[in-house]
């Protein structure tokens, strides 16, 4: 049994009907701040009695309130659908089910306050008039861990401590039996024996102390008013004893000596958090087949990454995943901002939440990714790439050079925009380096891609409603065959291969296999793939405006000076850097671009190094730099995400 679908309306940030699909094991909800991750968790908590963070009743803040003069929502509605019920559970939840296979639970509340309370109605199934047993809600155990949790106080002794809950859960059956037989639980009996042995042992002077007190009291007030006293450990009933127990720790697994253990306030925040979560998981996974045992357990954790270093984050998440997978009745839902977590978990568990006036939840497994693509992404989604899950817009690029240059070019493209929209950082747009031409895999998350060889075959799925722009190189053939007169045989020609130098009027179609995807990607709502006009990034940059001069200058600064004499290459590029290329013919510019690209690609410089130096130069010295049309379009596309409505 698991919570498969949640529908929310009029609650917190969800004005209109919002739906989120969940899987039966681990669910990781990712998204920007303010996208509604906590609202989803809160909606679930409204439905169930949460045993960890206390009751949470509806307040006026729970009703959707727009940031305009409009009225807040008149009512809120939350519906949860449960799937994967076995026959026993179907019998238990029968009125919630009807003829379908899933159980439905509904909650509605009217925005009408009666002495500080909001009246809420809960019913199962499709009719309020169906039999509804509130006890069924108790059979669903929901545990919620807030982002700012005080693990230490939860773990230390006291009322309702974590340890006492766990011990009670473990001993539930035995305790019940002892109560019916009117016997003491072994723990209670042990402590009782211990108490009496303390009181009787003369060597401990406890009995002496007690006697002294009694004597003094009697002297003071006489026999008539006298009282009896006893010195012992007070707690006698199981709950009280359990609440007095304290968890201690030792920093590694080596120690066998209990004396060396220390109290939790000397432990690190992170480890206390882990201990806390471990104690909850212990209770969650314990199943004594008792009738009062919950039929279904739901663990909600906001930001499990809190206080943990990356390696521990990954370990913890993997453990949560295995707990959820191994225990059929345990479902785990976590929200996170951690790219570490997002990259360590499989795509199937990730649910993307978009920040928009009507938030949309997209489970990545519903994006129609072919198996090869999801396997590929699972392998390739590292900490930096998983940035794309938290971005308000995404620019996918092929290599390190683009990744470095594009944010700088974006500043040029966006410089006329209003304040707050002047750069990719402002807009929350991430430039993600795919390290290759892997658009087919990644862009399926944002749009449905046709199989280029068979247009009928499309991967249909949900799409992350975030603007995604891909930038790729045209990659025309490097050499072209040319018929030239054969110098050896007069009157005949022979084929030689010479460098192909594209310019306006002399453009060849590319060999890049991603080009076949352009058509189907560009039909979609969110994604576009932009292709360079001539050849590759550096070439196309050089073809634009007077960029060739700047780029030539950078080559002169990067090219290694020979130990003696002058480098012809440096001399040549020095000359090129003084030319005003805007006055030259396109063919001449193309020749220059060809030379520039050749030198950048040379081991003496390298694309990455060049991109970095050029980025610095443009940024620091505010050099005039022209942005090629396809890059401009890509930047504008990716940064248009937040005003889709205005378009």
């Amino acid at each position: 049994m698991y919570l498969s679908t949640l529908n929310i309306e009029g609650f917190r940030c969800f004005k209109n009907e919002f739906e989120i699909q969940l899987t039966d094991s681990l669910n990781v909800i990712v998204g920007e701040n303010g996208a509604g991750k906590t609202a989803i968790i809160s909606a679930i908590r409204q439905l169930f009695h949460d045993s960890e963070s206390g009751r949470y009743s509806i307040t006026s803040d729970d009703f959707f309130t727009p940031f305009t003069n409009e009225q807040s929502a008149t009512s809120l509605s939350i519906s949860a659908e449960f799937d994967g019920l076995n026959v026993e559970k179907k019998v238990a939840f029968l009125p919630w089910i009807g003829t379908s296979d899933t159980a439905l639970l509904n909650l509605q509340a009217e925005n009408k306050e009666i002495r500080g309370r909001f009246k809420k109605i809960i019913w199962g199934g499709r009719s309020k008039s169906s039999q509804f047993d509130p006890e069924l809600l108790d059979l669903i155990q929901c545990i919620y861990l807030p982002p700012l949790r005080d693990a230490e106080s939860k773990l230390s002794n006291g009322r309702q401590s974590r340890l006492s809950k766990l011990l009670k859960a473990l001993n539930r059956k035995q305790l019940k039996q002892c109560r019916t037989e009117d016997k003491l639980h072994p723990l209670e009996a042990k402590l009782k024996d211990f108490n009496s042995s303390l009181a009787e042992d003369d060597a401990l002077s406890i009995s002496d102390a007690n006697k002294l007190i009694t004597t003094n009291l009697t002297k003071a007030i006489g026999h008539h008013f006298g009282q009896q006293t006893s010195i012992q450990f007070a707690e006698s009933d199981f709950t009280k004893i359990a609440e007095r127990l304290t968890l201690l720790f030792f920093p590694d697994m080596s120690s066998q000596d209990r004396e060396l253990f220390r109290e939790l306030n000397q432990n690190s925040l992170g480890y206390n958090n882990l201990l806390y979560i471990a104690s909850i998981l212990a209770e969650l996974t314990f199943d004594d087949k008792d009738e009062e045992q919950p039929l279904f357990k739901l663990l909600l954790i906001e930001e499990p990454e809190a206080h943990l270093h990356p390696q521990l984050q990954v370990r913890l998440l993997n453990h949560l995943k295995s707990v959820a997978e191994e225990n059929k009745n345990v479902q785990v839902i976590v929200t996170t901002h951690s790219t570490v977590l997002a990259s360590s978990v499989e795509l199937e568990s990730i649910i993307h939440l978009s920040k928009s006036p009507n938030p949309i939840a997209t489970p990545l497994k519903a994006c129609g990714l072919p198996t090869t693509s999801s396997q590929f992404i699972n392998r390739w989604l590292d900490v930096t790439k998983s940035n794309l899950l938290f971005a308000g817009g995404v620019i996918l690029v092929e290599g390190i050079a683009e990744q470095m240059i594009i944010p700088t070019l974006a500043k040029i493209v966006l410089k006329d925009q209003e304040i707050g929209r002047k750069s990719l950082e402002d807009l929350g747009v991430s430039t993600i380096n795919l390290n290759g031409i892997y658009f087919r895999h990644f862009m399926q998350l944002y749009c449905n891609i046709e199989n280029p060889d068979n247009p009928e075959e499309r991967n249909i799925g949900e799409n992350i409603p975030v603007k995604c722009a891909g930038i790729t190189d045209l990659d025309p053939p490097k050499k072209i065959p040319k018929e030239v007169p054969d110098p050896e045989k007069e009157g005949e020609t022979k084929t030689i291969h010479e460098d192909f130098i594209p310019f306006d009027g002399n453009i060849k179609s590319g060999t890049n296999h991603a080009l076949k995807l352009v058509n189907s990607i560009n039909k979609s709502t969110n994604a576009r793939l932009f292709v360079s006009k001539y050849k590759t990034l550096e070439y196309d940059l050089a073809m634009e405006g007077n960029n060739a001069a700047l780029m030539s200058y950078i080559i002169t600064s990067l090219w290694p000076e020979p130990k003696t004499g002058q480098s012809t290459i440096i001399e040549e590029f020095k000359k090129m850097s003084t030319i005003d290329w805007t006055t030259k013919t396109r063919k001449e510019v193309a020749e220059a671009a060809h030379q520039i690209l050749k030198r950048i690609d040379d081991d003496n410089i390298g694309k990455g190094m060049f991109a970095q130096v050029m980025t610095d130069k443009i940024q620091r010295e505010h050099v005039d730099f022209a942005v090629p049309e396809y890059i401009k379009k890509a930047i504008l596309w990716a940064s248009s995400s937040n005003n889709t409505e205005k378009e």
Binding site: S127, S129, S130
Partner: protein
């Protein structure tokens, strides 16, 4: 619990829940307590989670009584979950029809709620047939129901004449189609009558489409205990037959000699057939703790049942027959004399018409007369009068509104959430009318109506009228009230019957209403006209008839004295009654 049980009673409490059992319980046998003990015992030792037992009865009051008694046996605060205690109707409505309402009726509901609203024949609802029937125009969809057993249509319009006319029609195929289509339309809009609910439940239980659901349902309720099983209708028996066929165990508790619901299609012979067919194990409670042996002996003869043992036998006459000349009200003084010293005395008769002779009002009131009567009866010091006053007033209001009504709530419209709010409104309105001197009824109708009309029309605007109720009341703003025809000039007070207090202060009840009760003295009034089942002669004619069972139910109520009031007897009639064991006064 301090109740000590007899062996017979313990036999049932300790009986198996793995077989069908029929517990035949005579009147006064402590049946309800035994059922409560049984239910409590099974709840305490329940091993069939997540299934639960269902203990069903036929009225809300019986359910309440059972719930209270069961709770006494259970630890404080123990919930009944996963068990169900309630009426048969609500069991079916909540557990079978409501969860499947969308599939059954195609009603999609409003804001995720597809609850079907139950309406009674008196509701004003406009789902009408396309054609006319029996020269009485189009028929409303809630005025008939489909009988799935005989595959015919039964008309229940709330008007018995019309019912007879309609039920007499040999319906053609196209007429049946018309009626069915209209019914489907009404269901599709989320309305149904009680009988429709039963039909829908039968549809679930007999359709392949719902087989999976029914299998789960039987596991959810592996044991069904029916109190007053003699009241099971044929449809209900079919429902139980399907459930038992799938494995539900049935415990029937009741007394076939007390079956008095033939007008609802209940036939004790069918129940007894069912019990035989399904090989119920039979248990009996034969000890009557209520009545003295004198009364029991007469009762035994009424329906020819086996020996029942009572508490005590008295030497002095305990079963009396008193005679009246024209009207039973002549006997008031004798009744008062006989009842002197006893507190719980009840006047019982078959029909309201006989009982109404002991009440102050005229029957068949025009709607405007109901308003006048409501005002007249208004007396905050007398709860019985107050009750009647509120009821008449609610009837008056209901006549003018286009709404469906909740049962047992002073005609509270369905769209008003709180019955309490509605009752408050009724009370405030009446006080308001009285404060505006409407209780002056010694004036003529035309003047009184003029005043009443103005007050009623402004009712929705009064400050005590909650906005939800005001919305429902809008038709009142344009209401037109008229004096009863031909009485415009006569005095209001004159045409409402005698103003005297009810002539006898004892509670009055129909036989149906008195079922299951215990009285000190029961005064059973026979009608003055022979030939129907409210007359004593019919009661004695055939011990297997329902008429005999009417007298049996009525006569088995008292502890101390049983009094039959009959019209003056001929000598041979006296002998007949003496032969039964009565003493003629």
């Amino acid at each position: 619990m301090s109740v000590e049980f007899t062996k017979e009673q313990l036999d049932y409490v300790g009986s198996s829940i793995e077989e069908h059992i029929f517990l035949e319980a005579c009147p006064g046998s402590g049946k309800t307590e035994v059922v409560a003990a049984k239910v409590a015992k099974e709840i305490n030792s329940w091993k069939k989670n997540p299934g639960g037992l269902a203990a069903l009865s036929f009225s809300n009051s019986a359910t309440e009584e059972l719930t209270i008694r069961v709770s006494k046996y259970l630890p404080h605060g123990r919930s009944m979950f996963p068990h169900f205690l309630g009426t048969f109707d609500s069991f079916i409505y909540k557990n079978i029809v409501s969860p499947l309402s969308i599939e059954l009726t195609r009603y999609v509901g409003e804001s995720k709620d597809a609850s079907i609203r139950i309406i009674e024949p008196s509701a004003l609802l406009g789902y009408k047939t396309q054609y006319h029937y029996a020269q009485r125009g189009q028929i409303c969809a809630h005025h008939y129901s489909l009988n799935l057993i005989n595959e015919n249509i039964i008309f229940e319009t709330g008007d018995s004449k019309l019912d007879r006319a309609l039920n007499a029609i040999q319906l053609e195929d196209w007429q049946v189609r018309d009626l069915k289509a209209t019914k489907i339309k009404m269901l599709g809009n989320g309305f149904a009558t009680y009988r429709d609910i039963e039909c829908l439940a039968l549809e679930v239980l007999s359709g392949e489409k719902y087989e999976n659901f029914v299998d789960l349902f039987v596991r959810r309720y592996p044991l069904i205990i029916i109190d007053e099983c003699q009241d099971l209708s044929e449809e209900q028996l079919i429902i139980l037959q399907v459930l038992s066929g799938k494995g539900t165990q049935l415990h029937f508790i009741g007394d076939l000699h007390q079956a008095i619901y033939s007008f609802r299609g209940v036939d004790p012979a069918k129940v007894s057939q069912f019990i035989r067919n399904n090989c119920f194990t039979s248990l009996k409670l034969t000890r009557n703790f209520r009545s003295c042996q004198n009364i029991i002996n007469i009762c035994t003869k009424l329906t020819k049942r086996e020996e029942i043992i009572g508490n005590v036998s008295w030497l002095d006459p305990r079963c009396l027959v008193v005679q009246y000349n024209n009207c039973p009200t002549e006997l008031v003084e004798i009744f008062e004399e006989k009842c002197n010293g006893y507190n719980n005395n009840v006047v019982v008769a078959r029909g309201h018409s006989t009982l109404s002779k002991f009440q102050a009002s005229t029957t068949n009131l025009k709607n405007i007369q109901k308003l006048a009567l409501a005002i007249k009866l208004y007396d905050p010091k007398d709860m019985e009068a107050m009750n009647l006053s509120l009821w008449h007033f609610s009837e008056f209001i209901r006549y003018h509104l286009k709404e469906s009504y909740k049962p047992n709530s002073f005609n509270c419209p369905q769209s008003v959430d709180s019955s309490l709010m509605w009752r408050r409104f009724l009370y405030e309105s009446l006080s308001h009318l009285i404060n505006n001197s409407l209780q002056k009824i010694d004036i003529d109708w035309s003047n009184w109506v003029k005043k009443a009309k103005m007050l009623i029309q402004t009712l929705p605007k009064q400050s005590f009228c909650h906005e939800d109720i005001a919305r429902v009341l809008t038709p009142l703003e344009k209401v037109n009230l008229r004096a009863p025809s031909g009485e415009a000039k006569s005095k209001v007070s004159k045409s409402l019957g005698a103003t005297a207090k009810p002539s006898l202060l004892y509670r009055k009840s129909t036989i149906h209403g008195a079922k299951g009760e215990t009285h000190d003295i029961t005064i059973v009034i026979s009608s003055d006209r022979a030939g129907n089942d409210s007359h004593w002669k019919s009661w004695l004619k055939n011990p297997n008839s329902e008429a005999a069972r009417f007298s049996y139910v009525a006569s088995s109520r008292p502890k101390e004295y049983l009094i039959w009031a009959v019209k003056t007897l001929k000598p041979e009639e006296k002998e007949q009654l003496k032969g039964l064991g009565f003493t003629i006064v």
